[in-house]
Amino acid sequence: MKKDTRSLGPDKADSGPRPSVITRVFTSVRTTITLLFLLAGCAIIGTVVPQGEIPDLHGLAGHSFVNRLIVILDLNNVYRSWWFTTLLTLLAFNIIGCLLKRMPTILADWKGSHKKSSFSLSFTDPRSTDDLKPILESSLKGVLKKSPQSLEMENASILRWEKQKIYLLGFPLIHVAIIIILIGGLIGVFFGFRGHVQIKVNESSSSFALLSTGEVKALPFTIAVDAFTLTRYPTGEPKEFRSDVRLLAEGKEQLKGSIRVNHPITYQGISLFQSDYRVVGISRINIAVTGADGKTEILSLNPMEPFSLPGTDTMVKIRGFDPGSSQRGAGVEIVVTEKDQNPVTLRFYEKDAQPVKVGNHKLAFKGYEPTYATGLQVGYDPGSRIVWLGSIMLILGFIFTLFTNIQRLQVELSPAKNGTKITVSGRSKRMRKEFRESVENSVQMALKGS
C-alpha cells in the first residue's frame, strides 16, 4: 500500500539551529502518546481503588503496605492528586508545543505559499497553449466541480484550483479545543463549588455543605421549600421527584419554580438540582374505623391532635409511629381513653389480618402521608461555559477534518519546441490516489478526445 507521508509528521527537516531538548520533548508527538498512555493507566487506578475513602492506618489491617501506599500517593483521590494534575498540565503544554510547531506550516498552506504537492504529471501536446487551455479547463472543471483561477505568466499560462481550504482549520481547532476544555476544567476546580443541602418542606435554608470537605457555606439567597412531591407510575417506579421552591434575597422573592431531576433552576449563576429526598415525619395517619353498624369510615388524622371515635365519647391519641421496621409493615401506637376508665395502649400495623377492637368499633391502619425533606445539589462552575465552547470547537474540528478535504490543482502550460508542455501538479489531503487517478484520466481524455 501507499506509505503515507503527512505534513503533520515530526520528521520534517527544520532549518536553523537544533532546538533544545525541552523544546524537542514538548513538541514531540511521542511525548503525547506517552502522556496519554500514562494518563489512561492512572485513570484506571482511580476506578479500582475506592475514591474518597481514607484507608484505616491504625487498625489491624492498617499496617499493610498497600494502605500506606494509597495514602502516600493519594491513590484514594487520584483525579485531584498532584501527579495526575501534573500529567494533565504536561499534556496541555505538549499540545501547545505541537500546535506552535505546526502552525507556520498550516499558515503557509492556508496562504498557498506552501508548495507541497502529492503528485506531479507531465504531458506534451502539439497544439498551442491557447488551444489547450479551454480544453483542459472544461475537462478538469468536471473533476473539481469549480472554476479555476487563470493566470498569465511571461512564458506560461496557469490554471489553479483550490477547494475546501477549511479542512486546514480542523487540526488547530481540535487541539485548541482540548486546551480550552482543560482550562475550563481548571477554572471549575479553583473557582467553582459543589455542595448539598437538605431542607424540610415548609422550611428554608441559606447555606449548604461542600461535598468535598463538608464545610458549611453561605448562599447569596435563601431557598424556601413549599412542597416536595413524589409521583409514581402505576407499576410503582418513581416518575417524578419535584421540589417547589422560592428563592428569596433582600427580603423579596426573586424566583419561584420547581426543581425536578434533569430540570435544575439557576439563579445568580448558582444551579440547584434535585438530588435526593428523605422522609422526616408524618403529616397524616389514615385509620379505618368500622362502627357497630358495619359502616367503615377512613379518618385522616393529624398525629398531634387527639380525636374521638365517631358517635362516642372515646378519646384516641396517637402516641407513636413505626415506619415499618417489622414484617407487619408500618404501624401506629394509640392511647384509647374510654369514658371514666384508665387509658389503654394499642398497637396495630398495616399488614395485620384482623382489626383491633375498641368497644364496638374496629380500627385498622391504612397508611400514612409522610413529610419530606428534599435534598438539593448546589453547583457553581464558572468554567463550564468555557468547557462547552471547547466542546463545540472540538466537534467543528472533527467535522472539518472528516467531511472536508482540501484539494489543490495547478495546470501549467508552457510553449515547447514542438507544441506545449503541460505540467499538472495536485494535492489532496485525503483520497489521494483517487484524486490523482481522476485528474490523470481527465487530462488524458481531454488531450485525446479533441
Partner: protein
Amino acid sequence: MNSVDLNSYITFGYLGWIIAYLITALSGRSAEAVKRLLFWILAILFLAHTASIGLRWAESYWMGIGHAPLSNLYESLIFFGWTIVLALIIVWWKFHIDAVVFVGMPIAFIVMASTFLIDSQIRPLIPALQSNWLVAHVFTCFLGYAGFAVSFVAAILLLLVRSWPDFFSFLPRKAILDEVVYRSVLVGFPLLSVGIITGAAWADHAWGAYWSWDPKETWSLITWMVYAVFLHARLTRGWSGGRTAILSVIGFAAVMFTYFGVNYLPGLHSYF
C-alpha cells in the same frame, strides 16, 4: 407479534445467515452470486431489525409511557447489535471485503442472543433518564462503539494474516484490512467524542457537574485516550499494520469494559 418476539426471530436470522455464509464459503469459488444474494438477505434482516426498534418505540407509546427504546440494558443491547450490523454492511459496501462481515456477524449475534437472558419488559422511564440528551448520548456512543467493533474484527484478521500468512491466505490482503482498521477508528473516534460531550452536557443538567470521574465516565475517557494514541501513532509516527491493530484490540477491550465491566464498579450509571 411484539418487538421482543421479532428480536428473537432476527437473532436466529443472523445465526442462520452466519451458517449460510459458512456453507457458501466452504463450497468453493463459484460462490460470488450466492454471496451477493446473502448481502441482500443481510440487508433485509437489518431492515427488520430497524423495524423492530421502531415497533418497540411505538409499543411504549401504546402503553402510555412513550420513550425512545434506549432506556435499559435490553434495549441498549438490541441497539448495539443494530449499530454493529449497520457498520458491517457499510464495510461490505465500501470495501467489498466479506471476511470482516463474516467475523463481525457472530459478535452481533452474541450481543443479540445475550438479550434472551435479561428482562425484556418495557419499563417507564425513571426520572434520571427523562432527558432529551438520552437519545443523542446513546446514539453517538453506540455508533462509535460499532466503528470500534469493526476495527477490532479487521485488526484480529490482520494479526492472523500477519502471523500465519500461509494458513490464512484466503483472507483479504493486509493492506485492505489495515485500511479498515484505520478508517473505522477514524469514524468511531469523533462519534465517541460527541458521545462523551453529550454525556457531559446531560450530566451537567442532571447531576450538576459535567464531569464527576464516575467509573463509566472515566473508562470512556480511557477508551478515548487509547484511540487518540492510535490516531497519533498512525498519522504522525507512521505506525500501521500489526502495531495499530494491537492498539485497536486494546481499544475495543476498553470499549467492552466501559459498556459492561463498569457495572461491577460503583457509580452513577447504575441503570445501564
